[in-house]
Subunit: 206 residues, 2 copies
């Protein structure tokens, strides 16, 4: 009934944003991530953080889910190749930003740090990938709707997302996205062009 | 001049093995990695650990260098495809072992944990990959010596190592190595089989 209670969404959204910001800031600064530290930096009560997010793994998963969400627009260039090139370039840029890289590292590290809560840990890791998987599926569905042959989402994870993220995580230079996309798209073109059909088209027998 | 001094290699090798073992055990148990904890578990003096390895980043890099070294034999099946299949299967097994996975996670996490020493951090990460890169180069050189067309080591990193390691790090099921290798090897075969040559061979004009 207080003014604050009258717009719970607004206040809750502000708390959430402040907590996510605190998680990212602490990680990017290389400081240890604890609930009291996150609460102090966000200017909220630690009890509220524990009640809402449970623990550090929960905080990490929720922050990653939002940061690696689907808020960024999926490219629509008119071709699968163009869409994958633009999307891959965005992934390279994202994985090169200190805040996103710190979140990826923390999610990966979370595994052994919290062996008692495997579901939580899995959700921290998968939270980094779920938004990108969803975007990949959109790009592939759009290509199919256009009548283009499209690889599976698994192929895109393995041959576009994995090289970009693995190189970022291990401090290697970013890959050339065009070279990665070539392998995914050219391979499909090769399959589409059946040798017999190509022969019949290019050198008709009669 | 003491018996111990007379075989410094033997004693030093034992200390090194005990320290590496302690690092892996602490990581796999999800316990925090500190020089005093490593020294205590290895039964050596912390001062010796500081003197020899410097800090946690140095310990991690040296342990990873040995654990992900080139001690395992590179497969020699008689074909590039067979070698990559066997080697990929070994990587999947390795990345699925709790100790190696804990080392990979710790190397990835080391980035933001030690922002003051970028060279050390890079060496902890690259220590996980340097042995595998060297093995990949051996496999590819053997294929070329046989007269086979071989992809670049970068391609093998991006399309075989990256999917295997990324999925392990993010807790996803291991990829089908055969499917990954197909993309690397079939792609080369496609390039080798020039359409004009294939046409001339399969349907001679005269």
């Amino acid at each position: 009934m207080t003014p604050t209670m009258a717009r719970p969404g607004g206040r809750s959204a502000k708390v959430t944003a402040a907590v996510h910001r605190a998680v990212v800031d602490l990680l990017a600064a290389g400081e240890p991530l604890t609930v009291p530290q996150v609460a102090a930096r966000a200017g909220v009560n630690a009890t509220s953080v524990y009640r809402r997010w449970g623990d550090v793994a929960g905080l990490l998963a929720d922050t990653a889910l939002v940061r690696f969400g689907t808020s960024s627009a999926v490219p629509d260039t008119g071709s699968l190749r163009g869409d994958l090139l633009a999307w891959g370039a965005a992934l390279v840029e994202e994985a090169g930003r200190p805040e996103e890289l710190a979140l990826l590292r923390a999610a990966v590290a979370a595994g052994p740090a919290d062996p008692g809560a495997p579901e939580r840990v899995e959700s921290a890791c998968s939270a980094c990938l779920v938004g990108r998987s969803s975007q990949a599926e959109t790009i592939l569905a759009t290509a199919q709707a256009r009548g283009e042959q499209a690889p599976s989402p698994t192929r895109v994870l393995d041959h576009l997302v994995a090289p970009i993220y693995l190189r970022a995580l291990f401090g290697l230079p970013a890959p050339a996205v065009e070279v990665l996309v070539d392998l995914l798209v050219d391979r499909l073109v090769d399959r589409l062009v059946d040798p017999a059909t190509a022969r019949a088209t290019s050198s008709p027998r009669r």
